[in-house]
Each structure stands twice: as C-alpha cells, then as structure tokens.
Amino acid sequence: MNRIWTIIEKFGSIDRRIIYALVFLATAIPLFFNVRIPMPVSPEVKSAYEAMDKLKPGDVILISTDYGPSSAPETQPMLEALLTHAFRKDLKVLLMTHWRFEGLIMGVEGLDKIARKFNKKYGEDYIVLGYRPGVTAVMIGMAQDFRNIFATDNEGKSIESYPMYKEIAGPDGILNYKDVALIIGLEAGAIGNAWIMIVNARYGVPIIIGTTAVSAPDYFPFYQSKQLLGMLGGLKGAADYEQLLNITGFASRGMVSQLAVHALIIILIFLGNLSDIARRFRS
C-alpha cells in the first residue's frame, strides 16, 4: 500500500519535458488523420450562420481583420469559412483592418485564397480597403463616407474607380454604413467592442464577431443583449461554422487535437491533485 502511495506521489513531480512531449504528441498525432468529430453547433455560431445566410446576392459585407499571425490559427479559419459562405452566396466583400499591418497581411492572404477558389475578381466582387490608424475616428468617419477614410484602396488606387464601388454605393454615389448589410469583426483584442458600441449602437449596422477564445467570454454579454447577431469563439467557433458549411477545414481537424490535449490536461490535473492528496495523507 505504501508503495502505491509513493508512486502516486511521484505524479506531482513529473519532468516538465515529459509533459511537453505528451502535449506535442497529443497535438500532432490527430492531425495525421483527416477526421472530423461530430459536435453540437453552438447557438451563437448558428445565429451567425443564419444572419449570413439571410443575405441576398449582391449585398455588401464589411470584414475587419483585427488580428495578426499570433492568433491566426483561431481567426484565419473563421475568415476562410465566412468568405466561403459569402462567395457561395455571391455577396460583395469589403475588407479592412484596424490591426496595423498584421491584420492586412492575414486578411489579404485569406481573401486571395478563397476568391481564387470561387473565381472572384478584385474590384468586381471584392475590394481591400486597407488600414488606417485611429479606430474610433475611422469608424465615425466611415459613417459619413468611406472615401473620407479610404479614398484609396490597399493598392493606392481610388476606390471609386472600381466597378464594384459604382454597384454598391447609393444613388448619390456615397458609400457608407447604410450600404452595408453586415459587418464581421474578426478580433484578437478589444476593437470588437468599438464596432459594437459605436457602429452598432449609433448607426444600427448588424454585427457578427469572430474572436479568439481568450476574448470570447468578453463578447458573450453582447450576444446575450442582442447587440451581436452571432459570434464565433475560438477554434470551436470556426469548426462549428465549417460544420454548418459542410467543409472540413483546419478548424475541424484541429478540434480532434483539442479533444486529445484537453483529455491529457484533465488527466494531468487529476494526477497532480491525487499526488497532493497522497503527500498530505503520508505527512
């Protein structure tokens, strides 16, 4: 009996390198199998999907990629899934960022990839507005006229020169929030709060937020208060959206690794606590 307690006690001092190796294996091994585990879709993701699905061909969505490579494994699959949905429905896409240059890189990369898949053309089906500093000033300025803030696009060309601009701008030739059917904020920080508190509250534009898992609890109150039409939280949110689109992307594959690593963490927490109980019991 004493020997069993000794073994249990040793669980509390496992070499951290062994834990690293176990976490690595639990993450890597499931990625070798192209499988998708069936998961119940979260209600907030379903609401986001339905909000997108209700839009008609030609409607304009504005996507703000406010994240960088450091959170791309969570948010990039969201961008790709949402763009897949948007281009399947022939929506017009405007892309911008408040997240300096990183957001622009990630947004353009995802948009180019999905647009190529659907044979969509720049200037006809989508425009990359780019980045401008000053989150609040940019949002308020865009309410009057997008050209106040984005006179030129990411390539330095006037946004008015594109056929899509003429198509989506109002009869007065002004493009602002009234021409946008839905705003999608993909957030790694608190910029989503500004989209909700300024653009949704003041101008009434419907908003969907896709956020990293760390930020997700901060956005749930906005979903509960109906200030958000829907929400995608972390890799699970992206995987849910992929499931609704019936595609197996990175997020769906990643959720198998999530399952394995979470199981490992639970086992390690259990063993650690057991070890602590054993130590107290013996002393």
Partner: protein
C-alpha cells in the same frame, strides 16, 4: 523557389522560438531580435504607405478648401507632438510643454467620445439585457431558470463589490453567491484561454508537419 526558402525559414524560426521550452539560449535570442526588428521596419513602411502618405496626398491635392485646411491643422498638431521627442530636451528644453496641447486635444476628444459611446453602447444595453421576465406564461422551465440565474447572478456579483455595509447573515450569503458566480466566470475564462493556447500550438505543429515536412495534406 522563394516559397520553399520562405517555408524553411519559417520552420527554423518556429523551432528556434520553441527552443525556449528548454531554457533561454542564443538561437532563441537571435530570432527574438529578428522578430522585433522586422516588425518595427515593416510597421513603419505600412504606416507610411497606408496612413501618412494617403492622408497627406489627399489633403494637398484636393480642391476641397475645408479638407485642405483640416489637413494643415492636423499637420500642425502633429508637429507639436514632436516637441516631446527626447532630443528636444537638449535643443529647446523650455518648449517641451508645447507637446501637451496635442495630447490634451486627443485626450479630450477620446474622453468625449468614450463617455457617450460607453453609456449609449454598453451600459444601457447591458442593463436592459438584465431586465428579464422571471414568470412568463409561455416560457419553458429552462428559460425561466436561465433568466433567474442571470438576474440573481448579476445582483449577487454587484453586491459582492458593495463594501459600505458589514456583510452578515443573509447579506453574507448573497456575497458568497456573488463570489461563486465570479469564480465560475473565471473558470470559464480560463477554460477558453487553455483552448486558445492549444489552438496556437496546433497551428504551429500543423505548419511543421504539413507545409514544411509534407507529412500530412
């Protein structure tokens, strides 16, 4: 060819950063410095191309007199901030106070907008969202229970931070409930944080075994 070099470089940088798991080392330090330097350089270029140049170009070339004047005002305010530079302490130490004007301007505008948007876009809608029916005729038992938990949770959590009265008897019970609700919130946030960190690891490992080693497709 450039793609292959890029992938190998990214793989080396990933492994070098991960080497920190086994302790601080020169390779990690080297890559850390590359990251900081490259980010700063790239940031300056993008900031100039995407922010400074378009605004200046538009402001100088426009025929709109109002836009032209506001551009000159913005440039003037921008120049005033330069008085805060370290070098000004040596060149003109008596003039560094000038930089307080643009800071005061930005703070004033930011506070003004922040108060209005905070109350209108956050405080009011969140308060309204807690006015939930506790005894609705057609609501299911789960809906009523959910509403009850939310309302009681909000009240108990708020009361937990009420320090103007000694918390005894029933009041102590409410404080305890508030603490439990707050702890559950922290637990949920921690669970999400674990998921986030694991997702980042999945992203990097997927890159290594897919894009670099081509072991999976």
């Amino acid at each position: 060819m450039m793609d292959i070099i890029g992938v190998w470089l990214a793989a080396f940088l990933t492994l070098a950063i991960m080497s920190f798991l086994f302790g601080d080392n020169p390779v990690y330090k080297f890559v850390e410095h590359i990251f900081v330097g490259a980010s700063a350089a790239f940031g300056i270029i993008v900031m100039f191309n995407q922010a400074i140049w378009p605004y200046l170009y538009e402001g100088f070339t426009t025929t709109d007199a109002f836009l032209k004047i506001t551009t000159y005002i913005a440039i003037f305010i921008g120049i005033l901030t330069l008085f805060r530079l370290e070098i000004m302490n040596y060149v003109a130490p008596n003039l560094t106070w000038i930089s307080r004007f643009p800071i005061a301007f930005v703070t004033g505008v930011g506070t003004g907008i922040g108060i209005v948007t905070g109350i209108h876009g956050f405080v009011f809608p969140q308060i309204v969202a807690t006015f939930l029916p506790l005894l609705e005729k057609h609501a299911s038992a789960i809906e009523i229970a959910s509403n009850l938990i939310l309302v009681l949770g909000v009240l108990a959590s708020l009361y937990y931070f009420y320090f103007s009265m000694e918390q005894r008897g029933i009041l102590k019970g409410i404080t305890r409930l508030g603490m439990v609700i707050i702890m559950i919130t922290f637990g949920a946030a921690f669970g999400y944080t674990v998921m986030a960190r694991v997702s980042l690891l999945i992203g990097r490992i997927y890159f290594l075994i897919s894009d670099w080693l081509h072991l999976v497709r």
